[in-house]
Symmetry: C2
Subunit: 133 residues, 2 copies
Amino acid sequence: MKHLAFIPIGFIRTEVAEVPRHWSISDVEGEILLQPEYQPGLTGLQAGDRIVIIFYFHKSPPFSPENLIQKPPHRDQPAGVFSLCSPLRPNPIGLSVVEIIAIEKNIVKIKGLDMLNGAPVLDIKPYISYQAR
Amino acid sequence: MKHLAFIPIGFIRTEVAEVPRHWSISDVEGEILLQPEYQPGLTGLQAGDRIVIIFYFHKSPPFSPENLIQKPPHRDQPAGVFSLCSPLRPNPIGLSVVEIIAIEKNIVKIKGLDMLNGAPVLDIKPYISYQAR
């Protein structure tokens, strides 16, 4: 099957070595170090905004079929990978919702992250709640 | 820069030719036709659940630097691509939140989609509101 190729638009930087298991329980601060050429794409974003970061789980081991069912540490029962936020997925793509603290040129300071230091960033989108429907 | 390669885990199917500009204003129905080998990964998902679909904007033209600032049809002012949900992005990755209507083997019937027919699906995740924090 044809592969789809993406490039990192930046990288996550955080000094925290052990991040929370999920952004919804995180107060960890860090930053997106955006490649300088993409800086104009930040126009319109500001401190206090919530953004979605799509990133690459660069530390995940290769996925194999037995990982389609997993039992996360915080759950009693095993469940399908598509019902879980596990970093071990067919495509190791992560999604976190974080809050912008400040933007300084191509650096976006953020709060509430759950990515490991060095994670490649694939996209930044505005956060839109399902309740907006 | 090193490319990151992903594979489609399935494809979007819908009979609607003109989809709404965003899932938050969509009632369009369709389905995810998951590759059969990933079917066990759906375990634990059921009708009524909200899921996040990460997909590939397969109809987007190539991105160029002048697209870093865009003026969407429904906005007065141009803005940075990372503050917009435009399908024209450095990495053409889409994110939609939809509701599951039914799951039949490897077919996930969904409501509220805004993808074009044939869009490759990269990941399915549970929807978690920022308000869960």
